[in-house]
């Protein structure tokens, strides 16, 4: 504070915002801390793990990040909107199970099941949002309920329909080929295999970034997360916005569920549990505030990339697997710390300037 007193006051004619240098404007963005952390971790693994240094490895990392990152984008937007969704991990498995078991049992084209599954997932998202808004119970509790319901229903229904707890192989059912192309195909560029989820991920991130930065709906997300009462007062449709955000998460969960189903043909009914936290971690590492109202899509994507890079970097480095989780935890903590540090620097920089 005393420092700012000593500096000469800025020229009155020029608004203080314009006097901020390029570096400071950059530092004020939520994703910059994550980007710096990502670069540091990237260099670290380049140095430590020889196998990490190839383009093939890089695209394996991108694939791993994309399956987390696609849902994380939605979860990040939802968190900007001030809510959580703990059912986001399990719904990916639910989506795949609904599709595969329905089509297998009735012998119908997989496209029917995929659309049915989409409607179902959107309905779950709608219910999450509707219950949160109508009851006023925190989304943490509502979606924890959904999480348990889906987890139990996944197991119970799979057993009921197939007589086992894994879904049947669907690769012989009509429609598999086209759906496989959309959700789970890959192509080669030279020696590198590019999975289509990576492309989808980039598209979803770009779309989310555009919505958040450039559209009125994006402003609503920030408004309902940062100050819901003021948002309501100025005419933002809070209920619709939040329900829409929950449905976005469910849609993206469905998308990843489709990928898993069409890549692996069968699903185990107990899978998906725990991934909801990875999505939240990706969003937080990427600069999204746990309290809502702040964050952006690029940051969440970088967060997912940090997670993918760290989890596979440890393998590429060939470290003792028993320490896997510990390494992962340290890396994530470091990422968050770098993030925080950068944000502090940027805030203090703004103080010095004005």
């Amino acid at each position: 504070m005393s420092h700012s007193v000593q500096t000469a006051p800025p020229p009155v004619s020029v608004p203080s915002r314009i006097t901020r240098s390029l570096s400071q404007r950059l530092l004020g963005r939520p994703e910059v801390g994550a980007l710096v952390a990502a670069v540091l971790i990237f260099i670290f693994f380049l140095a430590m793990a020889p196998a990490f240094r190839s383009a093939e490895s890089f695209f394996t990392v991108l694939y791993q990040s994309s399956t987390i990152g696609i849902v994380a984008v939605g979860v990040g937007m939802l968190m900007i909107g001030g809510e959580f969704d703990l059912s986001a991990g399990v719904i990916t498995t639910t989506a795949g199970l609904v599709n595969s078991m329905f089509c297998w049992y009735f012998g119908v084209n997989l496209w029917v099941g995929a659309l049915l599954s989409l409607s179902f997932c959107l309905l779950v998202g709608f219910l999450n949002g509707y219950l949160v808004m109508k009851t006023g119970i925190p989304s943490f509790l509502i979606t924890l309920g959904t999480f348990f319901v889906l987890q139990g229903a996944n197991l119970g229904l799979t057993k009921l329909v197939t007589g086992s707890v894994s879904s049947p192989d669907i690769s012989q059912i009509d429609g598999f080929g086209s759906l496989n192309k959309i959700f789970a195909s890959s192509f080669k560029i030279g020696p590198v295999t590019v999975w289509i989820t990576v492309i989808w991920w980039a598209l979803f991130v770009a779309l989310a970034a555009w919505i958040l930065q450039r559209t009125r709906i994006g402003n609503w997300f920030f408004a309902v997360g940062g100050a819901p009462d003021s948002a309501r007062a100025v005419g933002v449709p809070v209920v619709k916005t939040k329900i829409g955000l929950f449905m976005t998460v469910s849609f993206l969960g469905w998308f990843v569920g489709m990928h898993t189903l069409y890549r692996f043909n069968t699903l185990q009914a107990g899978n998906g549990v725990g991934n909801e936290f990875l999505y939240i971690i990706a969003a937080v590492v990427g600069g999204t505030l746990l309290t809502g109202g702040f964050g952006n899509a690029i940051g969440v994507a970088v967060g997912a990339f940090i997670f993918g890079m760290t989890s596979l970097g440890i393998v590429y480095a060939g470290w003792d697997p028993n320490w896997f989780r510990a390494f992962l935890g340290v890396m994530l903590l470091l990422a968050v710390l770098v993030n925080l540090y950068i944000k502090r620097m940027s805030t203090s920089g703004r103080w010095a300037e004005s």
Partner: protein, 326 residues
């Protein structure tokens, strides 16, 4: 008008795509339920307590075996499970309190379960162990034991790998901190010293694939892979394709897809501990003990594995995997 046209369109499209799609369920009459007695016709009630993590195909087979045995012997079966040791102990205590005629339980954490098992034996309720606890079941007071010795299973797998010339196997642990999985990998390592372990997230197939793909491209000297569950083996086939690795794949456990892969030569062999038999025998042995005072195994554990499934016997076993019994 417009909505009606939409409805008609949707109906036509639905009819179009639903017409005769192959590859689904075989639509036959499901009236072929095998014989068996009415539940409870023998007058016995048996509690079956496990540390099953819900949704695992392996446990589903144990349960299927127990259910079939209960049906065959006219026993009322009370199945319950909890992966947490203290909660499993409470489930055993519940069984004692409700005065069942016998208790079958997995003994995965002997120390945590000792108290509850003692409560059962004090109440003169016979207890048999299954699946895990081979070294401790007698101390705890259980009468009989049905299961596989994980270390022996690992060693047998390792010996077969060594005979095939393996120098550097990769052993894939899909559940962090599982004693049984670690024991299998340790068994493999005792036969092939170059064995290396890796940890993967078994609840996320795409993560399993990319982790293994990363490992296989990091270390080209890996000549064989040992997976400890059927689904993980399926993921590993994908990781092998993606990384172009020529490593041989062997696995623990069996399901219909794995059986098919063994027949197709994509998987060398599976080490089967026959979970269906574990469930079936645990219930049957209690029935025989109650009815006839029998002691199966003569004071020694009865091993249900390792039973090897490979090219030589897959033709016999393949049909059974489709019934969820192998």
């Amino acid at each position: 008008m417009r909505t009606r046209r939409m409805v008609a369109l949707v109906a036509v499209v639905t009819l179009g795509v639903t017409a005769c799609s192959g590859g689904g369920r075989e639509q036959t009459d499901d009236t072929t339920g095998g014989g068996g007695n009415a539940p409870g016709s023998s007058g016995y009630t048996i509690a079956f307590v496990t540390h099953e993590t819900p949704g695992d195909t392996f446990w589903d087979k144990i349960k299927a075996g127990a259910t079939q045995a209960a049906k065959d012997q006219g026993v009322t079966l009370k199945y319950s499970n909890d992966p947490a040791a203290d909660k499993q102990a409470v489930l055993i205590q519940n069984a004692v309190d409700s005065k069942v005629n016998g208790i079958a339980t997995t003994l995965v954490t002997p120390n945590a379960l000792a108290g509850a098992v003692k409560a059962a034996t004090d109440a003169k309720i016979p207890v048999v162990g299954l699946n895990s606890g081979i070294d401790q079941y007698q101390q705890l007071g259980a009468l009989m034991y049905f299961g596989s010795d994980e270390t022996i299973a690992g060693q047998s797998a390792g010996r077969r790998l060594a005979e095939a010339g393996a120098k550097h196997p990769l052993c894939v642990i899909h559940q962090a901190g599982s004693v049984a999985l670690e024991a299998r990998c340790a068994g493999v390592k005792s036969a092939v010293p170059g064995t290396e372990n890796i940890q993967v997230n078994g609840a996320d197939d795409s993560s399993v694939v990319s982790t293994l793909q990363a490992k296989l491209s990091q270390d080209k000297s890996i000549d064989s892979i040992v997976t400890l569950g059927a689904q993980i083996a399926q993921d590993t086939l994908k990781a092998k394709d993606a990384s172009g690795s020529a490593a041989k794949l062997v696995t623990f456990d069996l399901n219909a897809e794995i059986a098919q892969s063994i027949q197709d030569g994509k998987i060398e062999f599976s080490i089967d501990q026959q979970p269906y038999v574990q469930g079936y025998m645990a219930v049957t042995s209690l029935y025989l003990y109650l009815k006839n005072g029998n002691d199966i195994g003569g004071g020694k554990p009865v091993l249900t594995g390792p039973s090897f499934v490979d090219k030589d016997n897959i033709a016999t076993i393949l049909p059974f995997t489709k019934n969820n019994t192998r």
